[in-house]
Symmetry: D2
Subunit: 314 residues, 4 copies
Amino acid sequence: MSLSIGVDVGGTKIAAGVVDEEGNVLEALRRSSPAKERAAIIDMIVAVTAELAARHKTASVGIGAAGFVSSDRSTIAHGTNLDWTGLNLGQAVSGRVDLPVVVENDANAFGWAEARFGAARGKKNALIVAIGTGVGGALVVDGRLVRGAAGFAAEVGHITSVPGGRPCGCGRRGCLERYASGTALGVNGWELAQFRPAYAARIIELSGGDSSHIKGEAITAAAREGDPAALQCYDDLAGHLGRGLADLCAVLDPEVIVIAGGLAEAGDILLAPTREVFHTEITARRARPEIPVVLAEGGQYAGLVGAADLARQV
Amino acid sequence: MSLSIGVDVGGTKIAAGVVDEEGNVLEALRRSSPAKERAAIIDMIVAVTAELAARHKTASVGIGAAGFVSSDRSTIAHGTNLDWTGLNLGQAVSGRVDLPVVVENDANAFGWAEARFGAARGKKNALIVAIGTGVGGALVVDGRLVRGAAGFAAEVGHITSVPGGRPCGCGRRGCLERYASGTALGVNGWELAQFRPAYAARIIELSGGDSSHIKGEAITAAAREGDPAALQCYDDLAGHLGRGLADLCAVLDPEVIVIAGGLAEAGDILLAPTREVFHTEITARRARPEIPVVLAEGGQYAGLVGAADLARQV
Amino acid sequence: MSLSIGVDVGGTKIAAGVVDEEGNVLEALRRSSPAKERAAIIDMIVAVTAELAARHKTASVGIGAAGFVSSDRSTIAHGTNLDWTGLNLGQAVSGRVDLPVVVENDANAFGWAEARFGAARGKKNALIVAIGTGVGGALVVDGRLVRGAAGFAAEVGHITSVPGGRPCGCGRRGCLERYASGTALGVNGWELAQFRPAYAARIIELSGGDSSHIKGEAITAAAREGDPAALQCYDDLAGHLGRGLADLCAVLDPEVIVIAGGLAEAGDILLAPTREVFHTEITARRARPEIPVVLAEGGQYAGLVGAADLARQV
Amino acid sequence: MSLSIGVDVGGTKIAAGVVDEEGNVLEALRRSSPAKERAAIIDMIVAVTAELAARHKTASVGIGAAGFVSSDRSTIAHGTNLDWTGLNLGQAVSGRVDLPVVVENDANAFGWAEARFGAARGKKNALIVAIGTGVGGALVVDGRLVRGAAGFAAEVGHITSVPGGRPCGCGRRGCLERYASGTALGVNGWELAQFRPAYAARIIELSGGDSSHIKGEAITAAAREGDPAALQCYDDLAGHLGRGLADLCAVLDPEVIVIAGGLAEAGDILLAPTREVFHTEITARRARPEIPVVLAEGGQYAGLVGAADLARQV
């Protein structure tokens, strides 16, 4: 049975692991990564890979990286957090570990794990949406990951939610990410705290009493208690998210939508209003099968599991 | 060299032809089709197929049909113009012509011809958008047609353009189709004719003088003369279309966008403002390769050519 | 007791009457007015005025005219239906009837009758909104009619309802009039008839079966029967109207809002959803007295009654 | 020549002065006001009034107060910053200073000074808009201040700018104040600092380097240097402000619009884009006289000058 090494390279830490064909993690390592320089990052990737390869008979290496990855599945076309635009990362690592190396976008790697071994397992068409600081995603069509012509596909957080709306780091205005991310949740709470402080009293209290520093966790905690202002923060977000998911399904028609990322921890507080809007908004809703919206199952190693598994797909 | 028969079944006529592997049409037939009943339509499909099969040695039949087609590539999951929801059309025809039959959505068949032999030939990732009465499309990802889990993919006319906007036949509000189709162009002209008749004078004149019956052709003709009101009708439409294309590219990242359908005949009157908005709106525009927006090349037989070619793909 | 003559000059007819201080019409005349030329219109105004003055001892003449009237209350600053921009109408008539003449905007004249003798009688602050082909209005503040610096006040149909929305004859986009007039009701019905014909079946039927010619009366008749599509046409309109009234009240804070014009005949079909939105949308709703929204009481002579009464105010 | 005392009661200080009929301040006093209790505030108003009345022969007292003032021009119908809802402030003061006392909304008092002695002097119809933390205003129609039926008129910051937009303290959503105030300017800067930090670098730098605490002053300073991000913050605000002013002019048709408040200090950075949008958006712009948009002239004592002058108007 073939083993593969997966490496998940984040802005502040690296996780690596040995993964079997059923998605089981046989051994995993974690390293905090203060370095932002290319050479140091490559060194660290090589080090964890070599360490694992010494103890396990592995056939391939998959790296999940923050950034857009070229269609060669090796070069970073455009880095986002790390300064490695243009780097042929696959080649740089492969030469030193003597194994074939595949590089994939980290959200794609994570989503692939969900599609293969998680909440979308057994489905050939799935949409995975990760809601954290931003909104990312992965698309699986006919059992294959959609990367796009230049590695820029599945940027589901950058479809329009509000024409002419909030400015986005991507250069557009009104992107879904600006209304349906953890950051957006905090903005919703901040607005209520500024302009309707009595209504937002519980959110402010749970944020430590400072109405100019509203914490997403405070909103979630208040929503769990049933606080109307906190629930409104989630409902506003879910209105945008549900409509955005309906837009994506008009294009992709998946069998299932998997919601992942930090905000997924809110569970039904997020999912119930999102499902309601989604099922109202989906095009041709009376003619088509219902598309379930479910929570991700993947744990802390989903990113490296997906990268390892993608390294097996040629 | 393998030949395939393509059949394009529209609401009012049927076209069929024999197609070689390079997309050439060796012989074509056209029949007007007054019948809307299942049996009569099947009879007519069988008749034209048998006629062509008698004169050419063919290996397969592809039918392009208006409606959502199930993943079996044979059953009409939901008919739109014709009353054949639930019909296993492939089986019904195959048993009588003694050839393998594949059924595909007609917009998909058309788009596939464009991807294989037309403006997107040689590209593995393409987005084809057909702008006529409505807005339809086809997606090609990694060289394969995207049909979706239940045959409902590529409904690109039913992503949101205006939240809470014009009601759409699909059950949603504010769909792109309601703002960027030939019908929408007419609505734009009608609004100007009603509320700014002096400004819209040339459009009204070319529509035969009746300000309550504005014709799309009149708007296009006036726009060709440089009439400001007519150009505004196109610019308004292009604003929605350009933004919608940018949304689709955030999801799909194609190498090329092909604009087809009746409105494509307006050429640069449509394309110039659409490209301008699209290139401004596309996410991460400074980091990614430019995506060209071009006109379709396929002629009158593109629908049957695509259907014939898809019949060869298993 | 002082009598005054009121003249209401419309696009197709002239009505004139003798009005006492309590708003009673002692005698009224009506003339159809095919003429659009200045001289002919003036002749006709002089004729009806002279005829009434010959039979009643009157002290003044008030003319309600379609157009913006200068602050001299005599000159047509800008005509709308009739070609009399720049005409000093008051002077032209006064010289020939030997009575003081005052000219007022026709919507202002109508609204003043409502404020003095109709649904807003006894109130010093009132907003009258007339919903017909367009949306017009009159403002009464501290018991006085608000005309504006140049006669352009109370254009309540031309506040924004939808930023960047439907083009308006006034040069703006998204004016309230484009979403909350009788014309807009017809557009709402037309959209449903085009894009959701099954849903709009009853509206189409009552329009004579032609889905491209939807009549406002058909929508109202269907709404009276409880037809959901027709009620949606009204609800959509009421959403814009209710919000617009709330915007106007934020500026003016009247004691009462009077709804007049042809669409007012729909009664509660219009008023119930309008009130609901209005009371939700009004700023500071918990701190302020409730502002009732009521139907106009003035009958067919309201326009001339108001003009006659305004002629007494110096 | 008649003298009047004006008192301007803010949340943190009281200013009082003796004002002649031409708006000159003969003597002024300022007191910081830590007290929020009714009795203490009344004591302080009485103290400054008595002190001035002892040195000047005065005929009346005008108090400008934060809150909605009833039509009796004496009772606080609804307090905003201070807890004095329901207090008959005029009576409470009048009994102790032995002079007639009139209470007016503070924005109305300020605006009245501008209309009588400032940028709108000599005009009978004026709109004064004060842009500070929020957006307030005053309306002068036919030479008279518009207070509304219950003292709630001229709430120009609470007309809709964005349907369904940012929540407002007044209970609505999308109020002009949420998009065109000093607070909104800070939100605009904060959004750019969060999502486009490179673009907003100069704003962040001038805010002391902390991208989560963007200061309005920093945006204004950067805009003065020509920084594109800071100018965008102002342009976005001006887009809303210009359209809002056009909406107000459709209702009121003033001769002049006066921009006051803290943000007015930005001068042409605010005014130039606001004028451009306003002149494009105003209804019937080709038919009507142009309405100039100018800066307020009133200095630090405008609030008390207006209150003093209103005390003379019966």
